[in-house]
């Protein structure tokens, strides 16, 4: 029974291996900071990942609420749209108006949510 869980172990080991490799390889192969260069860009280059934002954040770091709101709304609507794909795939083979009606209903509910978000001003960047 337990040997069924072997893939999980392999997966965890691979994860640790790959993650560790990327973190350490960067130190070995990545460009070294030039001596005496104390600019923040040079310090930033020492990070294991470069993504434009500092990857280590102090606890007083402030995150823009507008950004958070838009990101959250994006995720909500983004996830909902994923549900449309499987329906699109079977719509032709089912050849049924019912399926189409279901999708229209689903999108209508999403539209209500969009109206709410829009009228509440959550889409305005403040």
């Amino acid at each position: 029974m337990l040997h069924q869980y072997l893939p999980v172990l392999v997966f965890a080991a691979l994860g640790i291996l790959v993650g560790g490799a990327f973190a350490t390889l960067n130190l070995v192969l990545g460009p070294k900071r030039l001596k005496g260069d104390e600019s923040s860009a040079a310090i930033r280059q020492m990070d294991p990942y470069e993504c434009g934002l500092p990857s280590e954040i102090s606890k007083t770091f402030r995150f823009g609420v507008s950004f958070y709101l838009v990101a959250m709304l994006f995720i909500l609507f983004d996830i909902e749209v994923v549900f449309l794909y499987p329906v699109g795939a079977i719509l032709k083979s089912t050849d049924s108006v019912f399926v189409l009606a279901e999708v229209v209903l689903f999108v209508a509910l999403l539209f209500v949510a969009l109206i709410y978000v829009w009228r509440k001003g959550a889409l305005d960047w403040r």
Partner: protein, 511 residues
């Protein structure tokens, strides 16, 4: 193209459909100024239609949506209790700062969303609908707890409930995954069949851990000790209409799925998990009652009392008999009446004295405003389980069901818990009637400097409404609930039939 729809039982789904349509209308009402003030009317109309659909489906007994939902006596009765609690919350919230600050219809949309989760949860017969219903119930409630945006306690209670609730949900989900691993099924009936074929949970660690984690997750939701620590804080900090809704409706819906999951899906293991639930029930009774003794805040005391009451109700599941389920549903129905009466008075008193729910603010109320003092007195006596109230009959049925199934020690625990509880319930009654008037302490000072900035569209500072005890929408719930608690204490038969309707739905699975 043709219109071949699968067979869908729209009649059986009608309560869920009615609530969903109502929810959409309320959400739209929130964004159009001209209809915003009709929010409470729309919400009450939605609940009335939902209740109508539930009563229409009273005798239904069928699986819906390929066996993910099931509408039967248990679902109908407990959904009705949740709908009643939501309607009361709408009335109690009219003019409440939480409702005005969050935007009236937005608040009501959250409430309706939570209620929709409860109705789905009461019908859930598959792990997926179980979890979706539970989250739909919980997430709007987290937000509702924090809707009193200008009170730090309210925001704190929302955050606390969110964190603790998420831990509970995660535990539950993990447990469900393990039970799926052990039984290879997601439907409750199929889980039961899968577990029947296995060799019990004591020799199969996967099932054992799964059952334990599901019990812990559900115990978080119904606030069973030792997973109750959030209850007093959240009950005290949340706006009182939300507390009233949370105390009553969440328990009804969560106990519905508690009953269904343990008696149907885990039914084959009943003589293995009953000891575990019995220990939780006994601990809850002791911790809740002893914890309530030292409280000075009425809402906090009702929170601890809710922990103890959840312990009494859990005892009904321990028996795994139809009599136990009947007693549990009877007790829940009585609990709705008692708690609504108590919280309605708390709401009125809070509005009159600047939102303090300290027990000392009740001094001399008996002489000054008997119309407020009587509902609270009867609610306290009913919660304590004194005759002639529905609380007494409820405890009687629970104890009877326990003794019949050889759980005498748990019945004795209920009796001991009741004796301890007299200590704090009667203290409230004594404050109401036996202390001189006019010494109510000033309401909690509100430190304006520490308040979070007002959000757009928010209005209304903390206010006092000295005429709150004459507003029909606050007084009527208190009086009707009090009348119900007394009526069903004297003539319990209608409520017994109601409860038996729930128990009969499970007659296939339990004796």
């Amino acid at each position: 193209m043709s219109f071949d729809a699968p067979t869908i039982d729209y009649a059986g789904l009608s309560p869920v459909i009615a609530l969903t349509v109502g929810l959409v209308v309320i959400v739209l009402a929130a964004v159009f100024d001209s209809v915003r003030r009709f929010g409470p009317a729309l919400a009450l109309l939605t609940y009335a239609v939902t209740a109508g659909c539930l009563i229409w489906q009273w005798n239904a007994n069928l699986d819906l949506v390929s066996g993910s939902l099931r509408i039967d006596g248990l679902a109908v009765t407990l959904s009705l209790l949740a709908v009643i609690a939501a309607a009361v919350a709408v009335l109690l919230a009219i003019g409440d700062p939480s409702e005005t600050q969050a935007g009236r219809s937005d608040w009501l949309a959250l409430l309706t969303g939570s209620l929709l989760g409860m109705v789905i949860l009461a019908q859930a017969t598959s792990m997926l609908t179980f979890f979706v219903g539970l989250e739909l119930l919980s997430i709007p409630l987290y937000a509702l707890c924090g809707t009193n945006l200008r009170r730090r306690e309210s925001l704190e209670s929302g955050l606390k409930y969110l964190i603790v609730g998420s831990v509970g949900s995660a535990t539950l989900l993990y447990g469900l995954a393990m039970i799926y691993g052990a039984s290879g099924a997601t439907g409750f009936q199929a889980i039961s069949d899968g577990l029947q074929a296995g060799d019990g949970m004591l020799s199969d660690s996967l099932t054992l851990v799964g059952v334990g984690m599901v019990a812990v997750g559900l115990a978080f939701k119904v606030s069973i000790a030792p997973f109750h620590q959030w209850t007093p804080d959240v009950y005290q900090g949340a706006p009182t209409p939300v507390t009233a809704f949370m105390a009553v409706a969440t328990k009804a819906a969560a106990f519905a799925v508690f009953i269904r999951f343990f008696l149907v899906a885990l039914g084959p293991l009943a003589d293995q998990w009953d000891v575990m639930l019995a220990a939780l029930a006994a601990l809850s009774i002791v911790v809740g009652n002893v914890g309530a003794l030292a409280q000075t805040s009425l809402k906090r005391m009702l929170g601890y009392s809710g922990v103890a009451q959840a312990g009494y109700m859990l005892a009904g599941i321990v028996t795994a008999t139809q009599a136990g389920v009947d007693a549990l549903v009877f007790y829940l129905a009585a609990y709705v009446a008692m708690n609504v009466a108590a919280f309605a008075v708390v709401v009125i008193r809070e509005r009159q004295n600047g939102f303090s729910d300290d027990i000392s603010t009740l001094r001399g109320l008996g002489r000054e405003k008997p119309l407020l003092a009587w509902p609270l007195t009867i609610a306290m006596l009913a919660l304590a389980g004194l005759p002639p109230t529905a609380g007494f009959i409820g405890k009687l049925y629970l104890i009877e069901a326990l003794v019949d199934d050889d759980w005498t020690w748990l019945a004795v625990m209920i009796a001991i818990g009741t004796m301890i509880s007299l200590g704090y319930y009667l203290r409230v009654v004594a404050t109401l009637w036996m202390s001189p008037a006019g010494q109510a302490e000033a309401g909690a000072e509100i430190d304006t400097a520490s308040l979070p900035p007002q959000i757009a569209g928010a209005q209304a500072d903390p206010f006092e409404d000295s005429r709150a005890d004459r507003r029909w929408y606050l007084v009527a719930p208190a009086l009707i609930a009090t009348a119900a608690a007394l009526f069903f204490g004297v003539i319990p038969q209608p409520l017994v039939d109601f409860a038996q309707h729930a128990g009969d739905a499970l007659s296939v699975w339990i004796s």
